[in-house]
């Protein structure tokens, strides 16, 4: 497939909207996702996707599609504060998060199941409507995503210190509750922004996979977000084109956001495999060199000791 053909696909208004939405989300999610990764907040983020769900439903039931955002924002703020407080309990915080996650999700399902034709609506809320996004929705996504980046950007320095060394952070007289709530609100905003485009459940992949991939490639802080953004944008384009081709040329009806996520996972796995193989080869090389050095030191037929576990 030539570049011209790809460009042609994105000349279709619904495809260009999907691309812009995805790219904006991916960039914002990579920035917020950096701190999710550094703080190991993946499970809380999953909790937040579920906490936002009943908000989506209530918004939808109250005022239809145009009210989804308002409902989701309300649920996001409440969910972010509740999950921050639950997570600060040192013992049993995972159980607490799981309880919040399950109960919020059940409430959402119960609410939506009271409306007619709920299977279609449920599917839309969970998996998004990437190709039927309106201009208004696209604008909402951009605004909410930018808001999430502003919240994390304003606290980025404190987030870094807190993630690295909580004891040192507290001893320095800095407060952690505020930055914890700020980060969870930013994650919740990404979930809200992503819910309408790629769906409530798929948005977690955007937060976690590009940064996870980037951390396999670089160990430098400054490199992580740019690499994650490149990974996210490339996989978004490839996923959209692949989804388009499969459905238009091959007649397969697919969720485009699921295809994008699968491409992201594929890239993550390839990079993981490559980096592990590379590490393994480097270790083996180091061991071989150590062995041969030990052999050279063999005196009077006594074999040299094999050095194990070389870095």
């Amino acid at each position: 497939m030539s570049i011209a053909e790809v460009a042609q696909i994105f000349e279709l208004p619904f495809m260009s909207r999907a691309l812009i939405g995805l790219v904006v989300l991916a960039v914002a999610a990579a920035i917020v996702g950096l701190f999710v990764n550094l703080r190991d907040l993946e499970f809380i983020s999953d909790g937040l996707t579920h906490a936002v769900f009943p908000g989506l439903v209530v918004g939808y039931l109250v005022g239809g599609t145009s009210w989804i955002l308002a409902g989701a924002l309300g649920a996001a703020l409440v969910g972010a504060v509740i999950l921050t407080l639950v997570d600060r309990r040192r013992v049993g915080s995972d159980a607490g998060i799981a309880v919040v996650l399950a109960s919020m999700f059940s409430i959402g399902v119960v609410l939506i199941s009271r409306s007619d034709g709920y299977v279609a609506e449920l599917e839309q809320l969970l998996f998004g409507r990437l190709l039927t996004m309106t201009d208004v929705q696209l604008r909402q996504i951009v605004i909410v995503a930018v808001l999430a980046v502003v919240v994390v950007g304003a606290t980025a320095r404190l987030q870094l210190f807190r993630a690295f060394d909580l004891r040192g952070y507290r001893a320095a007289g800095l407060r952690d509750l505020q930055v914890d709530i700020a980060l969870n609100i930013a994650v919740a905003l990404i979930v809200v922004a992503g819910s309408q485009a790629i769906g409530n459940l798929m948005v977690l992949a955007l937060l976690i996979l590009p940064v996870g991939t980037a951390r396999l490639v670089t160990r430098k802080l400054v490199g992580i977000v740019p690499i994650a953004v490149v990974v996210a944008v490339v996989t978004a384009v490839v996923g959209l084109v692949a989804g388009f081709e499969l459905s238009v040329s091959h007649g397969l009806a697919l969720s485009p956001s699921a295809v994008v996520v699968l491409v992201m996972i594929a890239v993550y796995l390839v990079v993981l495999l490559t980096s592990q193989t590379w590490l393994w080869a480097a270790r083996r090389g180091a061991r071989r060199r150590a062995d041969s050095r030990a052999q050279n030191q063999t005196i009077g037929g006594v074999p040299g000791r094999t050095v194990q576990g070389a870095p």
């Binding site: 550094l38 304003a154 606290t155 320095r157 404190l158 870094l160 210190f161 993630a163 690295f164 060394d165 004891r167 040192g168 952070y169 507290r170 001893a171 320095a172 007289g173 800095l174 951390r215 670089t218 160990r219 430098k220 802080l221 992580i224």
Partner: protein
């Protein structure tokens, strides 16, 4: 060190508790500018508790405690803390310099960009702990001793008046140990007050002006010569199977099941001071 200076820390009958039972009680001491105090006691005796108490991180349940005439929490601004580094994630993607810059965050707040002056303070702190060549090395790639010096550099970068060190000499080789001893001396020369927990009586003798002996309550506090007597040591380490003679004081290291020497030849002086009593029998539990 006997001249009257402004009190840095004033503690009277203080107790610190995590729960219902006090973890440490009966602490009374006045610590002046430029003093260096070694906190000595067995594992679980309250050394770390006192350090956290001085930061306002452990509730103080009785008595009074002022740091620079203020509450410990308010004094955090000019207090530097070097926690043990063993809990830090070695994969965390920050360089040594980025870690030391964290010492400036309290001054910078969330939004202000580090100025030239901030950069200079950070570079000077790294220089001072002798890690200039490693400034851009990933923190997790440094050795244990270098990491501890790096965390000390972070504390120094905050330009503190009081530095608290939690077991700074655990697991250090001779090079790192000497470097750290020199640093503590430098800090004192600059008029900075140092409080350090340690297992190492030699450290107390070499660089500290005062010693506080703890065993869930304060056993003794005073200058090194006043407080570091065999009698006090026996009371501090009683009931936990310590062995004390004129050369060594050893306490079982619970984490490794081995006997960990907590002092070496330095106890000679202590023996001299008390006269030739010969070998003291160890109180065995």
């Amino acid at each position: 060190m006997n001249q009257v200076g402004p009190d840095v820390i004033h503690i009277a009958g203080a107790a610190f508790s995590y729960g219902a039972q006090p973890a440490l009680e009966g602490v009374t001491a006045t610590i002046e500018r430029g003093d260096a105090v070694a906190l000595i006691g067995p594992n679980g005796s309250g050394k770390s508790t006192l350090l956290k108490g001085l930061l306002g991180l452990v509730p103080q349940t009785s008595g009074s405690l002022r740091v620079f005439g203020n509450t410990p929490r308010a004094a955090r601004r000019i207090t530097g803390f070097m926690p043990q580094t063993d809990e830090l994630d070695p994969q965390f993607p920050v360089s040594l310099r980025q870690v030391v810059m964290m010492g400036r965050y309290r001054r910078l707040g969330a939004l202000r960009w580090p100025s030239k002056a901030d950069q200079r303070v950070v570079d000077a702190a790294i220089e001072r702990v002798g890690l200039a060549a490693h400034a851009h090395t990933r923190f997790g790639e440094l050795s244990g001793g270098q990491q501890q010096r790096g965390i000390l550099a972070r504390a120094i970068a905050a330009e503190p008046q009081l530095v608290l060190l939690d077991e700074p000499f655990n697991g250090l080789d001779k090079t790192n140990r000497d470097a750290l001893l020199g640093l503590v001396r430098d800090l004192r020369d600059d008029g900075i007050t140092v409080v350090t927990s340690t297992h190492d009586l030699q450290l107390a003798r070499d660089v500290c002006s005062h010693v506080m002996l703890l065993n869930r309550t304060m056993v003794a506090y005073g200058t090194v010569d006043e407080a570091l007597t065999l009698d006090h040591l026996e009371r501090t380490f009683s009931g936990i199977g310590v062995e004390i003679d004129e050369h060594t004081v050893a306490t079982p290291d619970h984490s490794h099941g081995a006997t960990e020497p907590i002092a070496s030849p330095g106890v000679d002086a202590l023996h001299d001071e008390r006269g030739p009593h010969g070998s003291h029998g160890a109180p065995r539990a």
